[in-house]
Symmetry: C2
């Protein structure tokens, strides 16, 4: 306990490092990690815990901006400890009575917030957004061709899914796994802000239909991973309605904005979706993992996935069997992911999540306002950030004098990786970078960390300049 | 903390109830579980924790025998708390340096124990055995027809998977999801002990080939869910070799026996498998979830699943990229499941797991010896249990005098559900029951709980008789 609490305290202390970085081979040799025949004593076990935490990333550190999931909420952490202590499985009411009820209450609340009448519909907490998106694809296919469950893809025409070129790679991963194939995922063009262009969507749907293929799913994104863009959901909904296609919204990253009266307009149209992925472990700061798939039509998940295992879902139990929700999952055993979200929600209230989200978006705007006209920075796209993603290049002095030609691009592409490596070696802060399309490596700042302040944003800028000015 | 530790202490106390059972509607009304706009204070939050634990099942209770995963290991629990505190994701070395290394070390050790030379191969911790089995099916298909990734199932011939009629339902679930279809999963006959009959396997493979179908996977089971049966892996391996079919072993439940010098012979032949599912969260008592898929051929998982997301798996990072293992997963974010297993292994040593497993099997044999000749009990199958599964009917006095006809069967089928309902209402112990094939509802006792003793087994028998004698 002391070891864990010390770590928590350190995580929030700006004077400690975000990471004590070592290269993989170094770290392998630094310590004896091997598993042996003989037991070790308590003292040794405690030392392993200390060592593990010494080399871990402090994801709760106010200057850790590397991923969409950052921060450490103390109520969420306590709830996760309780979950571990209860150590049960979600498949039946029999062995998880409270957690099954809390899942029911929480998913209903999330559906109300999405805007489905009375919070009706279905849903599940799944192990991450990629699996939630895969569920959506699976259910959409089943809705159109229920025979696929028994007969497989051989019995159905060629199915086509549509998603934007900025969407998450899990759509392709899902299509590969489900036997649909990545070639059948059509990537729709985006505008310069990373939003799907509806006219291109309609054009590609028509093109697919002309080839005799069957469009079965459009996955719009609410909060893309890199730009934080929101696809125009209302326009997408109109197109899906017109062509009778399942509309999925991947709001893994953007879903949190539904908690904010100020920002939820960015998801207008989400209420028309057939299914929504929403990861409270991202923008809402719930400990990992907590991802929900929400489905408008009730019963579909169950028909799609159920296999009636008689040793789990006995039909002659003494309680209402509709609470045995396990057979609608792809998983058999399913980790309890709901309690940390539920308890945080009780502790913060919807208004507490709202305040957190508004603050993170305000910080992103603060960053944007500082760097948009600052010497040495170029924005990857124009305009205020819609989410907390702020994408930019830092241009070191030696490059500022160069013409905008290939040599400059090539040199610029090497800047972010070097600064990032130096950041990790000095351990002061962490932020992500990547190339995208024809754009060479740029920084993607995201803010979901409740501990972050204006001073931490200022620090990040100073740090990038300190580490990159000689490049 | 006090609340959690009190719960742990109570869990181990035989005088407390395993469960304080309430019907779903009762429990919904007993307490206000709803989510609201306004925050609640710390006192209220602590009360929610207490209430949640009050109604939870004590899965660590010495008399909780309901599932394959039971018990509460204190080192495992501490490790899970540490995992929650570190709150990170498995996708890259960058953000999970220690955990990525520990996954590498632990999976390698597990492959060594399986018997693959030098522990070579590949693997991943996945969210449960059903997903691990789905991975195996996915990889087996990709190995035979790599074009399926891009082209989907339409581009490949009809694929057939084989598994026994006693195997886990996740094989069918996986086939439905992957677009193979449940009709293409052929269930092979079992002998009276629940073991796959190799001659029937070969017959069905030939039959499929004659129809022009392509057998691509045999999933043998090492430790079936209900009977605890071990398929004859050597004979299955010979058949797989002869017909060039991927051999998967679902050792989710039975894998733990590999840690025991006394019992590992039951899995002879597992070293010839192409892939193995092994869930340390079952027989090895690791907190939920901890399931491994192990693959003999290295690199296949990566080729099968990778999508090269440029924002996660940057190719110009400053460290050895082979430690960024996230792209071989179906998931994007992946929970850290390795640390609790690794820390328990350090604390117990391989010999500690061995002692635990030997003890559980000894307890199962103790139970079997008591009831095999005891009045009022009938064994579902003859012979000593191979795993800790002991399957039996309790026959109340009123039924003992009846002839073995349909009426008796019909009455007998109602005995286990009533006893189980009474068990839950009195909260004294929990054990599972189910029908199987033409066998009406019988009890399936399983022992994986490290806290269970001979006295708890005696208690179970007395309790069944106390609750069922009037039926």
């Amino acid at each position: 306990m002391d070891i864990l609490l010390q770590y928590v305290v350190k995580s929030f202390d700006r004077s400690t490092k975000v990471i004590d970085f070592h290269y993989p081979n170094e770290l392998l040799q630094e310590y004896n990690w091997e598993l042996a025949d003989q037991p070790q004593n308590l003292e040794e076990i405690l030392m392993h815990c200390q060592t593990t935490l010494k080399y871990a990333i402090k994801t709760g550190h106010p200057r850790y901006f590397n991923q969409l999931s950052t921060g450490l909420d103390m109520v969420g952490l306590a709830a996760d400890w309780l979950t571990s202590t209860a150590n049960t499985n979600m498949f039946t009411y029999e062995i998880a009575p409270v957690f099954v009820l809390l899942e029911y209450v929480t998913l209903k609340k999330m559906r109300e917030i999405i805007g489905w009448p009375g919070g009706s519909g279905d849903g599940i907490f799944s192990p991450g957004g990629a699996i939630s998106n895969m569920y959506a694809m699976l259910i959409a296919r089943f809705k159109m061709f229920p025979e696929v469950k028994e007969k497989g893809m051989a019995a159905v025409p060629r199915l086509i899914a549509f998603t934007s070129e900025h969407s998450h790679f899990s759509l392709k991963k899902g299509a590969a796994a489900l036997g649909i194939g990545t070639d059948s995922v059509i990537l729709i063009k985006c505008d310069e802000r990373g939003k799907m262009i509806p006219s291109d969507l309609e054009r590609r749907i028509l093109e697919a239909k002309q080839k005799g293929f069957v469009p079965f799913l459009v996955s719009a994104t609410a909060g893309t991973t890199v730009y934080g863009a929101f696809d125009p959901l209302l326009a997408v909904a109109d197109i899906c309605k017109k062509y009778k296609i399942w509309m999925h919204v991947d709001a893994a990253w953007g879903g949190g904005l539904l908690m904010s009266r100020k920002h939820k307009w960015k998801l207008s149209g989400v209420e028309r979706a057939n299914s929504v992925t929403w990861n409270p472990h991202k923008m809402m700061g719930v400990p990992l993992q907590c991802s929900a798939l929400l489905v408008r039509e009730e019963g579909l998940m169950q028909s799609c996935n159920q296999m009636h295992a008689s040793y789990l879902f006995q039909q002659d139990k003494h309680y209402d069997l509709s609470y045995d929700t396990g057979d609608k999952a792809l998983q058999c055993g399913r980790h309890v992911d709901v309690f940390k979200l539920w308890l945080m929600w009780r502790a913060k209230g919807t208004t507490g999540f709202e305040a957190h989200i508004d603050k993170c978006l305000e910080l992103a705007e603060y960053l944007y306002n500082i760097i948009k006209n600052r010497e040495g920075y170029e924005m990857v796209f124009d305009g205020k950030p819609q989410h907390t993603n702020v994408c930019f290049w830092y241009v070191p002095p030696s490059l500022r004098v160069l013409d905008n030609n290939e040599e400059r691009m090539s040199r610029l592409s090497k800047v972010a990786p070097v600064i990032k490596a130096r950041m990790m070696e000095s351990g002061t802060t962490m932020v992500s970078y990547q190339p995208l399309g024809d754009k060479v490596n740029f920084f993607r700042m995201v803010i979901s960390n409740p501990a972050a302040t204006h001073q931490d944003i200022d620090f990040l800028i100073e740090e990038i300049e300190r580490l990159g000015q000689d490049l």
